[in-house]
Symmetry: C2
Subunit: 135 residues, 2 copies
Amino acid sequence: MKALGQHLILELYGCSAKALSSVTFVQDAMVQGARAANATIIDSVFHHFKPHGVSGVVVIAESHFAIHTWPEHGFASVDLFTCGGQTKPWEAFKTVKNLFKATHFSVMKLERGLLPRNKAKAPRRRPARAAAAAR
Amino acid sequence: MKALGQHLILELYGCSAKALSSVTFVQDAMVQGARAANATIIDSVFHHFKPHGVSGVVVIAESHFAIHTWPEHGFASVDLFTCGGQTKPWEAFKTVKNLFKATHFSVMKLERGLLPRNKAKAPRRRPARAAAAAR
């Protein structure tokens, strides 16, 4: 069996509340993570919530990175979903964990899209310009 | 223990390749799913890839829904991440699964952000207008 995608599911506890509260910091951290993973950033959407928290997604050519923060609990949930062999999601994990100064954490790795090995080889994807940013 | 978020992880096999290839169809399906879940849609980003596939995210006030499709394999990975007690992610699951005509599937439910029960009660979030759409 071979998987089409790799999905790292992070639970970051004991993070800096100040960092988790700043939409600028959170977005920058996720973009830094994407770069560390050697991912191709296509778009990103980040929002600040009242009274607390930031949600955001970085859409990458290799899938997506997402984050939701609860500064009042020093907690962030992070999803790092990649496909293809070019990206290094564990580098993104290290980058994000360190930037938020998580004191403890868990990581679960899921293999997404399990197919028989001879069917799982897919061509490398690239954005279709004409259809990009269709909203 | 109580969780801050609920995360449904769907693997949809045997889907309509035509549906999975259309960025319009995929986006509409995810938006329909968000509505079925009683979620508040804030933003969405969808992209078509060459030679195959669509990636997209719907950012909701209650977290996010994400999808990646591999039409050549009839496969879609879908993540339905919600927080708060107002949303119904299983309604989104049924909507999306049916729209893509998945013949078989798996669903995993993860509880994200487990905290002691007396700490997990968070105020209902609403978008902060001033900081919304910070990119």
